[in-house]
Symmetry: D2
C-alpha cells in the first residue's frame, strides 16, 4: 500500500507546491489539512478545492476557532501568559491545536508521516514536531522547506511547471502569521533593529496616535474565564473577537521587541494582539483583587515558566500539564467585573468589583471605620526583620 | 544625660507636632532630620528653621538626591524592578536612604532612638524599622502616630495649643508620598476600587488623552547605567529628572492598581513615575538585545524577588545583597542606545543599537546571507523533545 | 452565658495546669481536647479522665492517626518534603490536624477561644494560630505560657496548691514532641551546638553503629501512595508504623541540624523519623524512574516551597492548596516497587521496577539493541549551545 | 599547511586508535593532549610516549589537579552542588577544565579542530563541545566514535592491523570515568535497574557494612573554602584527597540512582565520591549556622539551577557566571569548624563552631538567660497570617 503523508495546508504558494513536491520526493499520497484558527482570509471550501486541484488525494478543513479559543487561548489568559513579559504567545498557541488536527487526520487516513511548511530556523518547526511526537510518537515529521531545501524560487518554478492553480506573484515583503489571538510580522527592513516599524506593517490595530473617542468596556470573568462584555454573555472566542475590534480600533496591543528564539538566536518581532492584551490586562488586575498574596507571588513564577514552555513547543509536556493544575486552582476565585478604558494604544483598568474580592475596605481605609489593629505591627516588624537584624549585627562587626 | 531621639522630619504638620509630642511622651531631646530625595516643595533651610522653632534641639537637612539616584534608583533600573509587574518601588526605594541618614545622625548626636511618622498599617514603618535595625541593631524605633495614637485631630490641637509655626488647615484629601523616582497617591474616594481616578490626582504627568506632538528620545546605557540622553551626558539623577519632565508631559507612567501590602492587606494605589517607567522600559529592551537567553530567563525570577524584598523593607538584607551581585553581573554588557517615542501615555521603543549586541543579523535574516545551518534543527528537535515524547508514549498507553 | 475555651490538651503537667489557670484568668469554662496523632504514651481514656479531674467542663479525645497519616503525612511523602533538605516536618504536619479538631470542638461546644500550650518563641504557636484563623477566622487564640507568663515553676506551684492529679516531678531534661511521623528533641546541653548528641536522646531509633543483620524491604507505591510492604497491602499509617519499627531498628532517620525558625532565630534540633525517611527516600527514587525530566526539575522547587510553607504554619493557605494540585498531578504515574536495604543508619535503594517507568533499556544500553540515534546529537549540541556560543563570541572580544 | 586536530587523549585503546583513525579520515595531523584531573592510573610521561608511538605529531600532558580542585570542585562545594539532590557532578566538573586545556593546545599548535572520544548518547559530548564553543567559537569539534561510527570491534581491528602499542584485551565490563572528585560506573548488568550493585563495582570506597572503628574529623572552612583538616592547613586538593581516603575507608559517598540525562533519556548510574560528599555535607551544615534564612532559602534554588547548568554542559555560560557571583557572595561568612563522624557509610555532623555564627544561644535557649521577647509573637502571628486569614474568610463563604 502507498504511504500517506498528512500536510499542514494553508492554501498559499508554499504548501500548495509541497503537495506535489512531497509526492515526488517520497512517492507518498498527500492528504491536505487546513485548520481555521481565526486567521481570516480565504474561504475554507476554496482552500479545500485548491488542495485537490494541486494533487492532494484527500483534503480536509476544520473550523477550530472555538476549540482554539477555549482550550488554548483561555489557559493563556488564566496564566497571564506573556513571553519575555510581552508576547502573548499568538503563534505558539495555534501550533498545538493544528498539530492535534494533523494527528487526528493521520490516524483517520492511515498516514505515517506529517509534513509542515516551516523553515529550519524558527520556533514553529519545534512546536509542530514536538507536539506531534507527544500526541503520536509513532509518526514521522518532514519539513520540505528545511529537509528538501525547497526555496521560494524553486517553489515558483515548480508551480509554473506544473500549472498549479495558485498565484506566483512576488511575495509580500512581510512574513506573517496570524490567528484570532493575534498577528506576528517579520520583514526585511525590520531585521535592522534600529529601524522603527511603519504603519503599513499593522492590520489588527489602528494608529494609536490618531485622536479619537475613547471606548469603555466592562469585562466580566467567572473563575478566570471572560463570560460577558458590557453585561452581554460571550463565548471566549466572541470576547477575543469583539475586543480585537474595539481595542484594535484604539491601537491597543502593538508589540515591537527583540526576542530569544528556542533555536538559540535573537530575532526582531512585531506583534499585534489587541484582544489578547486587553483580556490579559483585565484578568491580571482582577487577580490582584481576588488572589492571596503568597499565591499571587508564586503564580508569577509559574506564569513565566508556563509561557516559556509554550513558547518552546512543550504544550503537551508533563510539566505544562502540572502547571495547568496550579493555574486552574489559582483562578478559582477570579470572578468579577473589570472596567477598562481603551484609548490611544492603552487598555487601562479604571474599576474592579468582585463578590470574591480580598480587598477589605475596612482594613484598608484611613478613615473612621478602620478595623486594622495597628498595635500588632510592632511585634510583626521585630520578628519579621529579626533574621536580617541578627545577620547585620554579625556583618557590622566583621 | 538626657536621652536623644532622632526624628525623620518632613516639615509638615504631623512631624512638626511630633517634635514636641515625643519630648512630652519620652522626656527626650529631639533632633530633626530632613532628607531631600527629590520630593520638591519647600526649601530645606526653611524646613530646618521650622524644626528648631517647633522645639528641636538640633535640626539637620541633607541633599541626598544624587545618592538616592545612584545607589537606590539605579539598582532598581538594572533590576527592571516593578512590584507586581507594575509599581517601580518609588517609596520603597527612598525609605532605606532616609534610614541611612537617620542612623548617621543618631550616631553623630548620640541618640538611642529613631522616630518616624508612619502609621501602623502601611509598609513604610517596616521599611524604616527593619532598615534601621539592619544598620544599627542597637537603636530603638518609635512611631508616635502608631505607638502614641497621635491622630490628625490631636495633632492640630497640639499645634494650636503650642502655637507651632505650621498651618493647621484641613488636610488635603490625598495621602501623598513623592520623590524624584515617582509619586504615590491614596485617597478617600479611591478606596472604593470601582471608582476611577480623576485628573486632579496627578501632578507628575499630563493627561495622556490630550492630543499633542510626540517626543522622541535616545537613551544611552553603559553596563546598565543611563549615561546620556540624545547624546548629551547625564548623571542618573539628571536622566530621571529630564525624563520626568519629557515623559511626564506625554502622560507616561501612570499606574492604578490593587496592591498586596506587606502587612497582609490589599490597598488601592495610584502612582506616577514617568522617568522611572521610561528608563526601565528602555533598559529592559536593551537587555533583550544584549543578555543571553538563559541568563535573561533566570534574571526575570531574580527581578521579581528583588522587587518583593525591596517592597518588603529588606533593602539591607543579606539576600538583597546577594541578588545585587547577580544583577550587577547580568548588566555587564547592557550597553548601547535605545530610541523611544514618548506619546499618549506610552513610552515605545522603536530602535536599538549596541556594540555588545547578541542579535546577529546574519543568523536572523531570512534573506540571502543567512548563516544559520538549518540541517541541525532536526537533531535538535528530536533530542530536545525526547523526554516529553518518551513520557507521552507511556501516558498514552496508561 | 459563660464563655467557653477549647484547650489543646496533652495530659501532661503544663496543659493540666492550663485548665484551671485559664479558668482563673478568663472566667471561662474549659473544654479539653486531646488528639492522638500516634505520639504513643498514655491511654486516651486516662487522659480524658484527668482533664475532667483537673476541672475541665468537657473532655474529648480523638483517634486521628489514620487521618493524620492519610491527609497530612501522605502529601508530605508525595512532596518528598524535607525542610532545609533534611527535616521531614514531623511537628509541622501534626499542628494542622490538631487545629482542625480544636476548631471542630469549638464549634460543637460553642467556644469562642482556643488555647494551646506553646511558648512565644517557637514555630508551633504560629502553626496553631494561623491554622485556626484559616479554619475559623472568628475564633480567638490564647497561649497561657506566652500570654500569661505561665512558667514551669508557677505551673508546679499551681498544681500542688490545687492538688491536681498530675506528677510535678522535675521535668525531663529534654523538650520533646513526637507523633507517628517522627520525634523532635531539644535540650539544654544540645543548645551548645558544638556538643554532639548522646544515645540517651533517641527513642525511635537504635544506635546505627552497633553491628546487626541488614533488613531488606520492598515498598510498593501506586500514584505516590505506599500501598504494600513486601507484597502485603498496608494503609499509609501501617506503612509508617512498620517502617518506624524496621528502619528504626537499623538506626535509620536520625537528623542533627541547626534550623531556621519562622520567628527569625536559629535553633539546634535533633529528629528521628525512620519511617518517614525510608518512605521519602523510596518515593523520590521511584520519581526518578517515572517522572519526566522537566517536571522533575520544577517539582524540586515546588517541594522546597511546599516544605517552607508547611514549616511556616501555612498548611491551610491558598498557595499550599495550589501547590498540592501540582504535586498530585506529578504523582499520577509514580507507581511501582522500590527495593531498599535498611542497615547501619542508611536506607539504600538497590532496585526499582515499574509499569509506568520512563527508563528505556533500549535507549540507555551501550550493548547491541541500542535504539538511540546518535547522529541527532551533533545538531542538538550545536543549537542547544548556540546562545551561549554567541554570547562567548561577544564576551571574548570585549 | 596540513590541518591539525587536537585530541583529548586518555592513553586507552579508544583514544589511541583515534590518533590514526582521525589522520585517515581527515588527513590532519593529530596532537594528543592528556589532562590529569586526579584520575589516577598510568604515569603521564608513559601516556605521552604512547601517543607519539601511535602516530601523534605532538603529545602534551598537563597536571591540572590543583586547578581542577580550586576552580572547578571548590565552586561546586560552595554551591553544595548535587544534581537531582544526589550526584556531586564528578564528570560534569572535569569536562570544562579538560576543554580549557584542549583549547589552549589548539591555539598553541594552530589546530582548527578538537576531537574527543565520547559517544553520541551521553552528556560528555555536550559538555566538551559546548565548552569548547564557548571558549573558542571558531574551533570545530569531532567525535570519531559518534561521527565515524568507530565501534570497539573496529578499534581493536585497527590497533592490531597497525600494531599499536596498546593492549586490545576484552574490555572491562564496566564503563568508568573517574577523577579526584569521584568515580562514575555504568555497566551491563546494572542496566537492569532492578539489579543491585555488587562490591566489585566500587574502588574509592570500602563496604560500609563491614564493622570497623569510626573516624572523626574536624573540617575548617574560611568563606566556604576548606582550609584545614583536624587543624592542619590543606589545599582544596589535599582536603579532597585526604577525605577520599578517610571517608572512603568508611564506605561514605556511594550513590545508586536513575538519572535524567541532558539528551533526554534516563540512565542508571553508580557513583562514589567520599571526599566530595563529606565536604559538601560539612559545608552545608556550616551554612545552616552562618547564612541568614532568606538568603539560605533562595540559595537552595540557585544551587539546583547551578547543578543543572553544570550537568548540562553550560559551565562557561553567562548564567553560570552570574550564579557564581551569587554563590560567592553567600559564602562570605561561611567560616568555622565542623566536626564530623565518618562511619558505616555515613558522614554525620556532630558539632559546629564559628566566629561568624548567626546561632544566638541567648535567643535560642529555653533556660534562664533567654533574651527573646515573646510578647512580640502575637502581633507577628496576626499580621503574618493575615492574608491567609482574609482569604479563608472569603473561601469559607463561597
Amino acid at each position: 500500500m502507498t504511504e500517506r503523508v498528512v500536510l499542514a495546508y494553508s492554501g498559499g504558494l508554499d504548501t500548495s507546491v509541497c503537495i506535489g513536491w512531497i509526492a515526488e520526493e517520497t512517492g507518498a499520497e498527500v492528504i491536505a489539512v487546513a485548520v481555521d484558527v481565526g486567521q481570516g482570509g480565504e474561504d475554507l471550501e476554496a482552500i479545500r478545492k485548491r488542495a485537490l486541484a494541486c494533487g492532494a488525494v484527500e483534503a480536509e478543513v476544520a473550523d477550530a476557532r472555538d476549540e482554539f479559543a477555549d482550550e488554548y487561548c483561555l489557559p493563556a489568559i488564566k496564566a497571564n501568559a506573556r513571553y519575555m513579559d510581552q508576547y502573548p504567545l499568538v503563534s505558539s498557541l495555534s501550533r498545538p491545536v493544528i498539530a492535534k488536527h494533523l494527528v487526528a487526520a493521520a490516524k483517520k487516513h492511515g498516514a505515517t508521516t506529517v509534513a509542515h511548511g516551516c523553515t529550519g530556523k524558527g520556533n514553529d518547526q519545534v512546536r509542530f514536531e514536538v507536539g506531534i511526537a507527544s500526541l503520536a510518537p509513532e509518526l514521522t515529521c518532514i519539513a520540505p522547506v528545511r529537509d528538501y531545501a525547497m526555496t521560494r524560487d524553486k517553489a515558483i518554478a515548480f508551480a509554473e511547471a506544473n500549472s498549479l492553480p495558485i498565484a506566483t506573484t512576488k511575495k509580500s515583503p512581510y512574513s506573517i502569521d496570524q490567528n484570532v489571538f493575534g498577528r506576528a510580522v517579520e520583514t526585511g527592513f525590520l531585521e535592522d533593529i534600529w529601524n522603527g516599524p511603519i504603519e503599513d506593517v499593522y492590520e489588527y490595530t489602528q494608529d494609536p496616535a490618531v485622536p479619537r473617542e475613547a471606548d469603555e468596556v466592562v469585562i466580566t470573568f467567572r473563575s478566570g474565564v471572560p463570560v460577558a462584555l458590557d453585561g452581554r454573555p460571550v463565548t471566549v472566542l466572541q470576547a477575543i473577537e469583539e475586543l480585537n475590534r474595539r481595542a484594535g480600533a484604539q491601537g491597543v496591543g502593538r508589540i515591537d521587541m527583540v526576542e530569544d528564539r528556542l533555536v538559540g538566536i535573537k530575532s526582531r518581532e512585531i506583534y499585534e494582539a489587541p484582544g489578547a492584551i486587553a483580556l490579559i490586562t483585565a484578568h491580571a488586575e482582577l487577580e490582584n483583587v481576588t488572589v492571596e498574596r503568597e499565591l499571587a507571588r508564586y503564580k508569577r513564577q509559574v506564569e513565566q515558566r508556563w509561557a516559556e514552555l509554550v513558547y518552546d513547543g512543550l504544550w503537551f509536556s508533563p510539566l505544562k500539564r502540572a502547571l495547568d493544575g496550579f493555574v486552574e486552582e489559582a483562578n478559582q476565585y477570579v470572578s468579577g467585573d473589570i472596567r477598562m478604558t481603551l484609548h490611544g494604544g492603552r487598555a487601562v483598568v479604571t474599576g474592579r468589583r468582585s463578590d470574591t474580592s480580598l480587598y477589605d475596605f475596612n482594613l484598608a481605609t484611613y478613615d473612621s471605620g478602620d478595623t486594622f489593629d495597628q498595635s500588632q505591627a510592632k511585634g510583626f516588624i521585630e520578628i519579621f526583620g529579626l533574621s536580617s537584624k541578627i545577620a547585620a549585627g554579625r556583618d557590622l562587626t566583621q
